[in-house]
Symmetry: C2
Subunit: 211 residues, 2 copies
Amino acid sequence: MVRPTTDIEAGRKLLLDTIDSLIQEKGAIDISMTELAAKAGMSPGNIYRFFESKEALFEAVAEGWFADRTAIMEAVVGSDLPVREKMYEFYARRYIRLSAYAARDPELFQSYCELGKQHFEVVRGYIDLGDHYLSLIVAEAMEDGFFASFSIDDVVSLINQMVSPYCNPEMLISLDPYLSEKKLKIIIDTIFIGLSAQKNSPDSVEMSLVN
Amino acid sequence: MVRPTTDIEAGRKLLLDTIDSLIQEKGAIDISMTELAAKAGMSPGNIYRFFESKEALFEAVAEGWFADRTAIMEAVVGSDLPVREKMYEFYARRYIRLSAYAARDPELFQSYCELGKQHFEVVRGYIDLGDHYLSLIVAEAMEDGFFASFSIDDVVSLINQMVSPYCNPEMLISLDPYLSEKKLKIIIDTIFIGLSAQKNSPDSVEMSLVN
């Protein structure tokens, strides 16, 4: 833990801890700035010194929530792993983290999912960031000869769909007993082999595998 | 439309139409038998002539909701299509139907999804039925030499996961702009090629594709 070094940082940290307690207590209800200030022992006016708007506050909550996830993606993309393992780790590390979080405190996890739906414009940026990192891995795979018949965007979209139970938090909760790292590995391998073997023509997808 | 031939059938149909209107009006709220009877112009006691319990009523609602879906699965499984096309049609026809329904009346669709969550023990039976039909197609594919390294149950589970955005109603709503029949076709082909090319050993999945 880094100790806050300024008054502003200390105030922000206090408010973020307070909102976390409120979400734990009450779930993903609509929390007013006044209510949050009271709970943190601040005057209602004082809170705006730390966050200029409710939107700015939720951006900071999301930043905290997504910080680990972003660090995982950066570490995997920057690693020296072969590209297929890189793709596997890109999903597996986040799946393990999400799954552990959901198991530790299912209600709090659900509340954060609900909060994410309510402030989807903030979450959207993090989804786009995930797509950006995924497209870097796909581009690297293409340099190695994989996915040759498709555009980067098509491959990103197809992979997002085929791997969705392992990265969409709500799907992960509802399918959790059926998910495993071993199955994720098989799915990633299926994508690398199966998508690379296809010829994508404008009107139909032809197969290069003998039927 | 087949005209109801008995008093019991007519009463059931009236109550099912009434509950549909109530869901359209009020969403997936908890509807009491008394409220439903009043809305249908029946005495509270009379309603039990037609449905012996609320559970029996929701089973009938689910039966109506899933009737098309079951008919589609039966028709596809019983068809003479080659097995890969059969698998594609198995998902494509239901995806097209769900997607059209969601587009026609998004709120009503959401209400039925919510209702399905509330009565998940009823929905569970239909999910199991879907898995049963899927396992018949997988068994047929195995006779043709596909998926040779895996058990039927493993293949059913892996396919369910990779195709989930096209059959899970809530995923379908949230990912709708990114879904298409063409992508579904590519995913099914990816599964047939990629999963069939893998050797599944107890501790690790080895690849038969040259890396």
